[in-house]
Amino acid sequence: MLTIAGKTFHSHLLLGSGKFQSALQMQQAVRASGTELVTLALKRLQPGAPLDDLFSPLQVLGVQLLPNTSGARTAEEAVQAALLAREAVGTHWLKLEIHPEPKYLLPDPRETLKAAEQLCDLGFVVLPYCSADPLHCKQLEQAGCAAVMPLGAPIGSNQGLQNRAMLEIIIEQANIPVIIDAGIGAPSDATLALELGANAVLVNTAIASSTDPVRMAQAFRLAVEAGVLAQQSGLGMRQVRAQASSPLEPGFAHLLAGLS
């Protein structure tokens, strides 16, 4: 069971709703994935354009909607977007993301922390997309965030857990859930993330851009379940050869021999 801000979820898989062929396909993928947390964006309405009613189908599926602040470049913009989202969606839950740099879409740590502090004070349940920087994650935790969402690799890159070493430290040090977001390219990446001890993963591109998103969503569902089961069953730690099976220095051997 995944617990965030006191709310429990059966699924440890979060889904991003973008990049799908259609709203219908997105909804089908959501269902196939078993997810209970879906991120959505807030955009300015195009006057005259047909309105996609995303609300009801997702509500029927019983998922927790997670509006995001994608598009915001500064803390101020993110806070504004959050207030709009809260009003539009009627939830305090929020995925905070501020990525002003368009090539790699990496999160801005300074603006993210600033926004997180303000939004936590405003009563939002903040899930920040952030750098895989252990100290930064502790600062977000201390600001009051409900979870941290460090990136495995740049958004859309499907490169897997490139930041593994840092993610392991984040997982070790966190007192709130760690949700690995961005870069997860294959179901095995998701399983690995959970085996490492992450509480959940967020997947978007890997599902939406595959040839058969609904089946891929199912694959991810199984992969995440496998990871969760492995975590719960006491995964044996893989041994790494210590670098110094070095012999004891001669001077020490002598001193050691003298001990009783």
């Binding site: 936590c120 100290l135 502790k138 935790e141 201390q142 600001a143 009051g144 040090q173 007192n175 730690m237 893989r238 041994q239 790494v240 050869r241 210590a242 670098q243 110094a244 099976s245 070095s246 012999p247 004891l248 220095e249 001077g251 020490f252 051997a253 001193l255 050691l256 003298g258 001990l259 009783s260």
Partner: protein
């Protein structure tokens, strides 16, 4: 919004269960523990077990390598400055226990300054202020006065006193205390109760919670430890490690040092012994270092010169030298009764010379307040 603080707690049953397990790990478990990338508590248990006693060279090699990777071939030197032997606790093992008939003394600020000058003439600029535990006569106001007077003179100021509250620690931090030492003595509730029969220290729950208050006050260097011999040493060290991990998890900025003295005779208790041999002592220090390389091991002058030569050249990060463990011992009143007998009486310069011979650089100071940490 701050994370709610829970306190580290333990029960007699937890202690007894761990003690029952302590001799179980076999050679294979020890081998796994020696090569684990991130040793677990089970690995630490294995390294503390009797089976690991057969692997002392391997433990020492691994612990030494980890120490050097983290802080190089260096050893930081400090000295204790006993401010007061007034104590309101009754602790069965201590020469300053309240019922012991010893001349009680508390240094004036001027005397403390005199002692500081004497310590500095030995070359030492990192000082550990030590008091017995007397809230009324050696309380936070006195400690603040001494801290303020001594702070401009020394490179590092540490404090070992009775447990205070978070507000007191905050004031002390602002006044210039770099580190606070708080020793649990033992994590065995029954043994704790048997040895601490009177005074505030008899309250084990309060003692267990004290390090959290230091952390809350924003002090980032914490010294912890047990007195080996009060209970089963393997279990005490294991629980110390659990306590450390608990504190690390709640306050990620904390840096730890650990002191693990062995029970020794003192004037009022001439026959007490720890039952921990030199080899076992080395084993447990190495085990702790392998489990948590980021924790700094501190060695006092209670240990013999031969053992200190080995420890200070291998796994230790800091050590006291030239120590006097009575108030006024350096200059003001050198004849009075010491808290415990010193075994290694070498001066700081002699220790430094020994270190250099062994390829270790003595370090006299780390960060100087002149660099802007405290108000002038």
């Amino acid at each position: 919004m701050p994370v709610p603080i829970a306190n580290f707690q333990l029960t007699q049953q937890q202690f007894d269960t761990l003690q029952a397990q302590s001799c179980l790990p076999d050679q294979a478990a020890v081998q796994r523990a020696l090569t684990a990338a991130k040793p677990s508590f089970a690995d630490l248990q294995a390294l503390l077990s009797p089976a690991a006693g057969e692997f002392l060279p391997e433990l020492l090699a691994r612990a030494t390598q980890l120490k050097r990777q983290r802080s190089g071939r260096t050893l930081s030197l400090f000295a204790p400055l006993y401010l007061s032997n007034l104590c309101s606790n009754e602790c069965s093992y201590c020469g300053f226990s309240r019922s012991v008939a010893v001349k009680r003394r508390i240094l004036t600020v001027a005397e403390a300054l005199q002692e500081t000058t004497a310590i500095q003439s030995l070359g030492i600029s990192q000082i550990l202020l030590v008091t017995g535990e007397h809230q009324r006569k050696a309380g936070v106001d006195y400690l603040l006065e001494v801290t303020q007077a001594l702070r401009p003179q020394v490179a590092r100021l540490m404090l070992e006193s009775q447990p205070l509250d978070a507000r007191d620690y905050q004031q002390l931090r602002v006044a210039g205390i770099d580190a606070v030492m708080l020793y649990q003595e033992t994590y065995d509730p029954q043994s704790y109760a048997r040895h601490h029969t009177f005074g505030a220290k008899a309250d084990m729950t309060n003692r267990l919670a004290a390090p959290s208050r230091v952390a809350q006050a924003g002090i980032t260097q914490l010294g912890m430890g047990v007195l080996l011999g009060l209970s089963d040493w393997r279990t005490d060290v294991l629980l110390l490690a659990q306590h450390l991990r608990y504190l690390q998890q709640h306050w990620y900025q904390l840096a730890f040092s650990v002191a693990l003295p062995r029970l020794k005779p003192c004037a009022s208790q001439s026959t007490q012994q720890s039952g921990v041999s030199d080899r076992e002592y080395l084993q447990l220090l190495c085990a702790l270092k392998i489990f948590a390389p980021e924790i700094s091991l501190s060695i006092s002058t209670r240990d013999s010169p031969a053992l200190r030569d080995l420890l200070l050249s291998s796994i230790a990060c800091s050590a006291s030298a030239g120590s006097k463990t009575q108030p006024g011992g350096y200059a003001v009143s050198p004849q009075s009764l010491a808290q415990f007998s010193i075994d290694d009486e070498r001066s700081p310069q002699e220790i430094a010379a020994m270190l250099r011979v062994n390829g270790v650089q003595p370090v006299w100071q780390d960060w100087h307040p002149v660099l802007g940490r405290y108000p002038a």
